[in-house]
Symmetry: C2
Subunit: 355 residues, 2 copies
């Protein structure tokens, strides 16, 4: 396969959520934590794209504050980046992807855009979906990957499939993008069928994306282009010009491009995907013991069931408690019932009010 | 009131239970912890007997390992002991009380025997009961104090009252002592009436106790007497001879004396007593906030109710949990449901098995 047929992975690692507090914090974002095993989600994302006949070296787009951490983690899994772009300020995904597309030497390079903090268990299924979608991307389609929904989730956007694409084994035109729905609408979509979760994974040629941006958001393209023209470059590190990049409107790729562009396709895939977006979703992806507990660290759970208990230091001892999430990190411990982990943010709100 | 009419408090502080683990440990027994406020239960016991026209200086009987801790705590509340007897080995309450009785210069001194790790909220009611019982003690009765039961507790012994004593306002002869009953029997006693909890508080002349011991347990008296004759004395500290004391049978005062002696009286009293024998009973005696939580230390309880949460260091943050006992001390934290705190021992058993 000639060099320019390889896909360039573009890994977005600028996120800094606190939904997995007290383990994830602004200084210690989720993608760099080894939540599911010895490797971090970022490292698992890198490994997912180590397939010589499909992927070239990746482009990483991340925050300057975590540059060294990211590079140390890349070294650990033997992944040398083509470019490590350090966002001078946070502008959401659409401008970040524009920086990566502009960093490609060959504008026709197909790029696979991925969040760095999701989990995909079936890497083969994922890579096959990428491979099958590659002809569409080369033909200038913007391809999204749609995850088969397993429930009426209100935390994700949805993609409705349209007609099957001629000449494609497994992809469809998209009919519409649906932003995070309410419960009723989510249930309706599930019973109607033909809707998929939008996992924020995209495949397209760099020039296709930049062309769509020029059409639908020329101001953003201009800001990103100027930021890259005036960037500082040291080795593989690229620091785009802050003042230019700050002029870019802050928008998601969904809103800025995908919902507006014409040749948008969806490839359904069922790769054991999780956004690991909460302690509850982490519990779902980890393997439980015979008491259906997921335990890590110095934990003694006596007559206790269906709990997620993690500690990095202090000993946690329980008796007779069920369905709790108990997480200790450094000098803090959080305790809430399973099914309630979206309320971590309410704890943090109260804390910030007190401080 | 002449000197020899004053009551000598005898405070038994040799206990070393772990029912309030992880706060109470063998090194840090419950009586020396400030569980209910700025003063420890031991200090509150000392204060309960600081009443010039009723009590003289106390005799403390405790473990050698906690001698300095006990004396520091006595200093803090301005209580200088008449004697501080350091048990060379643990032999339960009957031999410990014998040591104290033998330490009284005047054998007719009335002594008030008390555990050091109970809580009494209504000190006036308690002192009045002691005062009213003093004539009986002087007349060589062995007086127990019976706590009005508030429920069919299976964790305490019971005392059944007999006939009212002529010339006494408020005391009765005892009919019988009942060891810790099963649930059914406890309920039966409660519905029958005339039964009281045995709180381990006794009033008698030193010589009455020693005489009863001579009658029912001469071997124990002989061992205690020899231990005191060969004791090391430094200031107020008395260290009875270990080899002699080791010969004393290990028995409770109830079993060795009270259940067998003839002139045994019971004075009912309702002084807001608690043995603080578990985290559940501690919850009962502490004042809860508007969410019915009892919180101490760096705790943030959001949308959480009816919990006991204590921490001496790390921050404990909860959301949406109810009826839990959460206790953090040093590098350990324990979590169990309210009503289950008797199972602390099962956690400790598992831990010892693992270690």
């Amino acid at each position: 396969m000639p060099e320019n047929d390889l896909v360039t992975p573009v890994i977005l690692s600028g996120g800094s959520g606190t939904r997995l507090w007290p383990v994830s914090t602004a200084d210690r974002p989720k993608q760099f934590l080894n939540l599911v095993g010895p490797l971090s989600l970022f490292q698992l994302t890198l490994q997912r794209c180590q397939q010589d006949n499909l992927f070239g070296s990746p482009i990483i787009v991340g925050g300057a504050g975590h540059a060294q951490l990211a590079e140390d983690q890349m070294d650990e899994v033997g992944s040398g980046p083509m470019a490590h772009i350090l966002e001078p300020c946070a502008r959401n995904t659409a401008p970040a992807i524009a920086l990566a597309a502009l960093a490609c030497e060959n504008p026709q390079t197909p790029i696979l855009v991925m969040p760095s903090d999701h989990l995909i268990k079936d890497v083969n299924a994922f890579q096959n979906a990428v491979r099958q979608s590659l002809p569409l991307a080369k033909a200038r389609w913007l391809v999204t990957f749609g995850i088969q929904p397993t429930g009426p989730e209100t935390g994700y956007g949805y993609i409705q499939q349209g007609e099957a694409l001629v000449g494609s084994v497994s992809s469809f035109a998209t009919r519409k993008f649906v932003e995070k729905p309410n419960r009723e609408y989510a249930e309706q979509m599930l019973s109607d069928g033909g809707y998929f979760w939008n996992a924020g994974i995209f495949l397209f040629r760099a020039d296709s994306y930049l062309a769509a941006l020029e059409e639908h958001n020329p101001e953003m393209l201009r800001a990103a282009t100027k930021a890259m023209e005036n960037a500082d470059r040291t080795g593989t590190r690229i620091l785009p010009d802050e003042q230019s990049f700050a002029d870019a409107p802050s928008d998601s790729i969904d809103y800025a491009v995908m919902e507006k562009a014409e040749k948008v396709a969806v490839t359904p895939v069922n790769p054991g995907w999780s956004d690991v977006g909460s302690w509850d979703s982490l519990f779902e992806v980890l393997t439980a013991d015979e008491q259906n507990n997921v335990l890590a660290g110095d934990v003694l759970a006596v007559n206790s069931h269906d709990n997620l208990i993690q500690t990095d230091g202090i000993r946690v001892a329980t008796y007779g408690v069920d369905n709790l999430i108990i997480v200790s990190r450094d000098d803090q411990i959080m305790i809430l019932p399973r099914g309630q982990s979206q309320n971590v943010k309410k704890i943090l709100m109260e804390m910030n009010r007190d401080d």
